[in-house]
């Protein structure tokens, strides 16, 4: 498998996620955070319906898997609501960087619940992330 086969879609996801986390700042000037989340949730369902139609409605069911996947939407969208509410008050620079540190929380949860071990490299990553949070959220002069 050539590198470009996965590098191009990875770069595409990187660009598109960056755009998708910037757009709410533009929309929140015209819609309240609650309205934006309501419209966004309904749009997401409509778009998923289109994706399903394009893939021939090949839908599988597994009770545990479905419940877990349902909770992804629950956590993701409730998180998005808080993200938009924070954007309403702050700047994209601060809010997007602080919230993008979620791999830090995911790593801690993986250690606690999946009993994954933490490597020295990951520990160094946690320290750097915490330093970034202190710099972005801490008091004092900005520059």
């Amino acid at each position: 498998m050539s590198t470009s086969a996965w590098l191009i879609p990875s770069f595409g996801a990187f660009l598109l996620w960056g755009v998708s986390q910037f757009v709410p700042k533009l929309a929140v000037a015209r819609l309240s955070p609650f309205s934006q989340i309501a419209w966004s949730g309904l749009s997401f369902c409509l778009l998923t319906g289109i994706v399903l139609a394009c893939t021939g409605f090949d839908l599988r069911f597994d009770p545990q898997g479905a419940l877990l996947a349902w909770s992804i939407g629950l956590c993701g969208f409730t998180g998005q609501l808080f993200y938009v509410m924070a954007l309403k008050q702050g700047t994209v620079t601060r809010v997007s960087i602080v919230t993008a540190l979620y791999p830090l929380g995911t790593t801690v949860l993986s250690v606690l619940f999946l009993h994954e071990t933490l490597t020295l490299r990951q520990m160094a990553g946690i320290v750097l992330c915490l330093a970034a949070v202190v710099l972005l959220t801490g008091g004092g002069k900005d520059d």
Binding site: W6, A13, L16, G18, S43, A69, L81
Partner: protein, 137 residues
């Protein structure tokens, strides 16, 4: 950062931490498109709860709604492209690369909204990106 902004960002970060963990478990028993479908039901649950909270009277603004729809479309395409990339290449490198997405958001904010980026913020961005790269690697 104000206290309220910090608390809201922390709440989003905490929920997204769980959001980052659960797909690993859900994808063990379901294919990506099925996960996307059940995930959309979860999103719809939140949307309906929020709609009930605002007594089914959301703001109606064409441009705001178009922006929101556009943002959702970009997000769904990004998710599918991400699943595609993961099925073709090394997960650790792909997760690291895509986790750098705030760089794009910050650049767009600087270009379009003229948000000022201070030296302290540039240092924080560099530390955050390096930290996420080490965590995801």
């Amino acid at each position: 950062m104000t206290r309220q902004e910090t608390l809201l960002s922390a709440a989003a970060l905490a929920l997204w931490s769980v959001w980052g963990l659960v797909p690993k478990l859900a994808l063990q028993s379901l294919p990506p498109v099925s996960v996307l479908f059940y995930e959309s039901l979860g999103s719809c649950t939140v949307a309906l709860a929020v709609l009930a909270f605002i007594r089914f009277r959301p703001d109606i603004d064409r441009r705001g709604m178009a922006l929101t729809f556009g943002g959702s479309a970009v997000s769904v395409v990004a998710m599918l492209i991400f699943f595609r990339a993961v099925s073709l290449g090394p997960v650790s490198i792909i997760v690291t690369l895509t986790a750098m997405y705030p760089v794009v958001s910050v650049l767009l904010a600087a270009l379009i909204l003229r948000e000022k980026i201070t030296r302290r913020q540039i240092l924080a961005i560099a530390l955050a990106m390096a930290g996420v790269a080490l965590l995801a690697a």
